[in-house]
Amino acid sequence: MTGLSEIPPPRILVVGCPDWPLVALGVDPAEPALVLSGGRVVATTPAARSFGVVRGQRRRDAQLAHPEVRVLERDVTREARSFEAVASALGSVTPWVEAHHPGRCAFGVRGPVRLFGGEAELVERTAEVVHKALVDLSGPDGRPNGGGTCRIGVADGMFAAVLAARMGGPAPREAVVVPPGGTPAFLAPLPVGLLSGDGCSPEGGGIPVARRNLVDVLGRLGLATMGAFAAVPTADVAGRFGAEGLAVHRLAAGLDDRPPGHRPAPPDLAVSTSFDPPVDRVDRAAFAARMLAESLHEGLSRRGMACTRVLVEVETGHGERLSRAWRDEGALGPAAVADRVRWQLEGWLHGPPAIRPTAPVVLLALVPDEVVPATGQQLGFWGGATAADEQAGRAAARVVGLLGPGAVRVPEWRGGRDPDDEFALVPFIPVDDGSAGERVKERGATSGRTGSVDEGPPWPGALPGPSPAAVHAVPVFVALRDAEGRPVVVDGRGNLSAPPHWLRVGGGREEEVAVWAGPWPVDERWWDPLRHRRRVRVQVVAEDGTARLLVLDVGRWRVAATYD
């Protein structure tokens, strides 16, 4: 067994607010609703869950499970702003609150437990404070928001405490308090799948892909529970799975994932910037925060360190000092730090009046609070994230920063009968755990077509190849006439009234049709009166050699694509 002589990790209390993206948007939990981010469901209300809408689903699948579900876009800024109210309310319990992501925060039990005279009292008091903050939280239209609940878990070590908070019911009555020293026993019956991330942090958390893969392997090795994995001798785990395996093994055994030895960072690693004139706008401060995060990261990596907890501090013109700690399971990369700073500034500057500073910000500082040796990343020879993938991912993330979310898109195969149906462009999501390139690849890998041949079931009625090299998003209407100058129409069986002879594109001149092929009629979704699509496609080559794909849709011909 792992170091029995090792001192158990400190006791931690975790406060989690389930379904935070929905609570922040002021959605009633009794209403079936979901929040989408990048085309995937990231949060659902209990009502929606009862219909089988779960996290990670695509919008289409979720709507299949419950057609009337309300679909909302994610608003991370608002989540951060609302959560700051909760985190700052906890300031009356303990000053050492560290936020993990909007919706979850934690603090060490040791100090406040003496103040309140016991863990049960502490849990009760915490629940009371959080409930009050949640009730005060107003929805978008100012109406009070009664939807938020909170869960509380207490255990030795952050990992177990987070799980305890997840497993418990509404606090304080159903809070899960794991007795001191009882963490290994608490974890033992739980499935190993929980080791691959808590699943409720935004964008999958900072859990590296390597860990997800490792946990997957454990399951297939027959180590179904954490207890079974913890019983494997440490040396064997280290020999077979290396450092990552060791970290996971420690977690399963109820220890911190890193051996003690988190050291306070040398003070000269803290970075700060002052604003002159003072700023009161989040975007300006966030811009500076981005560069600050880069220089923090650079300073750390020069010493071979990575930061797992960062303190965001601001000072205002009136001398107020605000600070908040942010922690992430994986090491915080520059983009992750910049995000957290933006959330925090959003929370402070646009939060409820009680916590809003009275003057603009004059100083912003980032203090790496807890550092660990950086394990670095082994660049793969074959497969995995290569340097080129990383670089491409970083560039894409930078462009998203320049142009806004959704600006960079990657193709995803959907299948269909028309060239514009077959691939959909889905937003590229910059992931801030440094594995952006890998994520792009994962997204891309879902496209079923990898070569020039079709894979998967065929689409009867699809156009024959080769496909057009330009597919027009904006339709250009055309007039198609036969030799006598009558418009070419289509009968009920999809036959053309006459061979097309004249073509006029938009407001251009009349061109003679040299070659044409078709028609290919399609009648899609005839069972659904709302989405029924009936159309006829024709390939037409004009006398100048331009080949176009024309589509007759609701009585008008348009250029759907050009064989450029």
Partner: protein
């Protein structure tokens, strides 16, 4: 195979100098030579001259060097007759003519199969299905809608250096200084800028004069061929396009290189005629 021009420009001198390896090998051929034991052992099986030449040969094989193929990205076999050494890294390429998009897709196809990334800026109309048919791996594409002219330069510059191929089709007319800056950045970072020129109305090459593309490829005389021709111009389907691709620019013979090909061929892949 060695792109000596490119090498001499990009490599420090000590890597370029033909190394004279194993100069310290004893050359005396006396039977009781006092060379190191290993030399003596080798000498017993082969003559010293053979040993030296084989060692020199091995040294040539293992020395660090930059091959032309590493300084360039491969292209599909159909395009090899116009671009025998592939697309040179750090160059700018202008594409024009009817069929420029098919040509662009054909150009990047092979590189994506070798894990190069392609960023497409400002061409939301690019047919992805056609790209896949031509051999492009869709998971290597990043597509950005046309940004407004002010941020166009910085968006493209972000991709230059980070991805191997940047395909741009600006809807506005980028300034000469901007294009010059991008071309310089390409040269420095080894990315390739593919510049898709709009139809005849856009005097693209002229506007590129400042940073005139290192290579300009144009498609001329493109005609679509149908299969099973019937009456009144009817065919069963458009089967392939016969076209001539002309490559002109730096490193090309006067008059450029020309090649007739099917762009795309019947299965979507460009084929040589």
């Amino acid at each position: 195979m060695f792109d000596t021009v490119g090498v001499s420009r990009s490599l420090p001198a000590h890597l370029l100098a033909e190394p004279e390896p194993f100069d310290d090998l004893s050359t005396d051929t006396g039977p009781s030579g006092d060379g190191p034991p290993s030399t003596r052992a080798l000498r017993s099986v082969a003559g010293p001259a053979t040993v030296r030449s084989s060692l020199a040969d091995m040294a040539r094989r293992i020395r660090p060097t930059v091959l032309a193929v590493e300084r360039s990205l491969p292209v599909v076999s159909a395009l090899e007759s116009v671009l025998p050494s592939g697309l040179r890294r750090g160059s700018t390429v202008g594409l024009s003519g009817v069929g420029a998009r098919s040509l662009a897709l054909a150009l990047v196809a092979r590189a994506t199969q070798e894990n190069s990334w392609v960023a497409v800026v400002g061409d939301g109309d690019l047919g992805l299905v056609a790209g896949v048919e031509a051999g492009v791996r869709p998971e290597r594409l990043l597509v950005v809608e046309a940004p407004d002219p002010e941020s166009w330069g910085s968006v493209v510059a972000t991709f230059v250096g980070a991805v191997d191929l940047v395909m741009v089709a600006p809807v506005h007319r980028p300034s000469e200084s901007e294009l010059r800056r991008l071309a310089a950045r390409c040269r420095e970072r080894g990315s390739i800028l593919l510049y898709l020129l709009r139809g005849a109305g856009f005097s693209g090459i002229g506007s590129l004069a400042a940073g005139r593309p290192d290579l300009s490829l144009s498609v001329v005389d493109a005609t679509w061929e149908g299969s099973e021709a019937g009456p009144a111009g009817q065919v069963a389907r458009l089967r392939c396009r016969r076209a001539e691709v002309v490559a002109e620019g730096r490193g090309m013979p006067p008059g450029g290189r020309r090649c007739e090909m099917l762009l795309p061929g019947p299965d979507g892949v460009p084929a040589c005629l």
